[in-house]
Amino acid sequence: MSLTRSQHEPLIDVRALERTFDVRRRVEGRRRRVRDSVLAVHDLTFTVAAGEMVGYIGPNGAGKSTTIKMLTGILVPTGGQVRVAGLDPSRDRVELARRIGVVFGQRSTLWWDLPLRDSFDLLQKMYRIPPARYRDNLDRFVDLLDLGGQLDTPVRQLSLGQRMRGDITAALLHDPEVLYLDEPTIGLDVVSKGRLREFLRALNDERGTTLLLTTHDLQDIEALCDRVIVIDHGTSVYDGPLAGLHAQGGSSRMLVVDLVDEAPPIEVPGATVRRVEGPRQWLSFPADASAAPVVAAVAASYDVADLSIQEPAIEDVIRELYSRDA
């Protein structure tokens, strides 16, 4: 640990962060375009401790990429404060680059016409990674990500999944303290997604690498992140454990009741029937309420063959959260 940063200071510290963009737009009946200022991110505050795995989610245009670009120093904030590893990203961008890894899912950092190995070798030189450390890391990542057969293949001939694994290796060769992943599983098949998630979890376990993940694939979040930050219209609308999203979203859980015989829709307090299919009925009740009274009420008045409870899909919860906010 560096002397300038105590153990307690968060690795990522974002305070009242703001970024506006000037856009010009055409207005009916006027020849000149009007200059407008758009708030891409505003009043955004959060911290991430070393070793955390955080999902950063939100609809398109919510400000996810803008935030990542300010965290990496690509964009200069127009207001507020951001510090990563004790550095000011836009001012100390080159120095910070040594300590972070960035993977933009849809854009490769690798050199198109060259074999993977050459790209990695150049990165070793750019980051000045000690040769022994470089060899260790390369061997390990190549093994874990199953890239051994592709090292001498030009990048343009790699499949999307292979390229993504190559990009992730490229972002990790210099042992970054924090890894930003922007849509890392986009376009990958189910098996590749699973393997990638396994790898990222192991990376966090073994090396304590902090992970900030933006994604549209909520399974990524469920598999990896203990904490999610939901951003909408440029500011954080939820920050906490994944499970807590349910309560926040005001969504509902579903009680599936299998009756012994077909019956008219069940009537019990605190729940409403959503669907009836022969002897099976679906009852919804608020996600933050206990299931026990509902179950008891049903069992008291009907002959029940079986019961099960369905948790709301996280997709629905988040959709709910967005729509409420709009």
């Binding site: 996810k64 990496t72 120093g73 690509i74 836009s90 680059a97 016409d113 060259l114 050459d118 150049l122």
Partner: protein, 270 residues
């Protein structure tokens, strides 16, 4: 740390450039054809001058070897700058494709990466042609030790002036992403203009090429000294020795514009 800033940047530059040379060798035939083609096109350029002199004894009082000295020195400076940092004019494309974002997350200064990216020896053709013309013209110069010094710093300063123009005008693309042609007007345009004795232009043009786009310092003023001519336009004699000043000032201005451009950079969506 054993290595200081500039030496380290140069090393990073060479490492990236070397990667691109190796990449070009993935397609050796195409590389050779492009280099030869580039050489032929620029050779025709000088042949044009040659043909002109078949009909004229002099151009505004300058003989063929004298014009060749002007032409060769300007071409050489441009070719060196173009080979070393020519990719900087593609910055608009880097912005649009998101490649600039990638570069900004690497621990090597952005300008070093942008200049070295897609490094190509294709312009070796132009470089060779310029060197030959310059070398031939040099045999007509009445050399003295001070003229050798002025000739050397003329080439270095000329490179710096073009470096500055390339970088400075490419920065326009930070504000409007498709302005390559605008930049070319000043870089390649400036180079074309300096291939002739500047006395053929109106005085206003000369003033512009001295104080605004200082390409007159790339070859015109120092060549007057090399050729032992008094300035037909009556500009101060000190200008003949001022090329390094012009080179350093142009480059410093360009670096300032670059920094401001990077800070104004707004990236592209997602």
């Amino acid at each position: 740390m054993a290595e200081s800033g500039p030496a380290l940047h140069l090393r990073s530059y060479l490492q990236i450039a070397w990667l691109w040379i190796r990449a070009a060798w993935q397609y050796p035939t195409s590389f050779v054809l492009l280099a030869v083609g580039n050489g032929l096109i620029t050779a025709l350029d000088f042949v044009g001058l040659w043909i002109m002199f078949a009909h004229l004894d002099d151009l505004a009082g300058f003989t063929l070897p004298e014009v060749a000295l002007l032409y060769g020195s300007a071409s050489l400076a441009l070719a060196v700058a173009d080979t070393a940092i020519g990719s900087v004019e593609r910055i608009g494309a880097y912005i649009r494709t998101g490649r600039l974002d990638q570069m900004m997350t690497k621990p090597v200064p952005l300008l070093v990466q942008v200049c070295a990216d897609q490094f190509t020896l294709r312009r070796l053709g132009r470089l060779t042609q310029a060197a030959i013309v310059f070398g031939w013209a040099c045999t007509y110069v009445d050399w003295t030790p001070s003229r050798v010094v002025v000739a050397l710093w003329m080439l270095v300063s000329g490179g710096l002036v073009f470096f500055g123009l390339f970088v400075g005008f490419s920065c326009v693309q930070f504000w409007t992403t498709d302005a390559t042609e605008f930049a070319n007007a000043f870089t390649y345009g400036g180079a074309t203009v300096t291939q002739y004795p500047l006395t053929i232009f109106p005085r206003e043009v000369l003033v512009g090429l001295t104080f605004v786009i200082p390409v007159a310092f790339v070859n015109w003023y120092p060549c007057l000294y090399l050729l032992g001519r008094s300035d037909p336009t009556g500009m101060p004699e000190a200008f003949q020795f001022a090329s390094p000043v012009a080179g350093v000032l142009t480059m410093a201005a360009a670096l300032l514009v670059w920094r401001s451009g990077v800070r104004h950079y707004t990236s592209t969506g997602s």
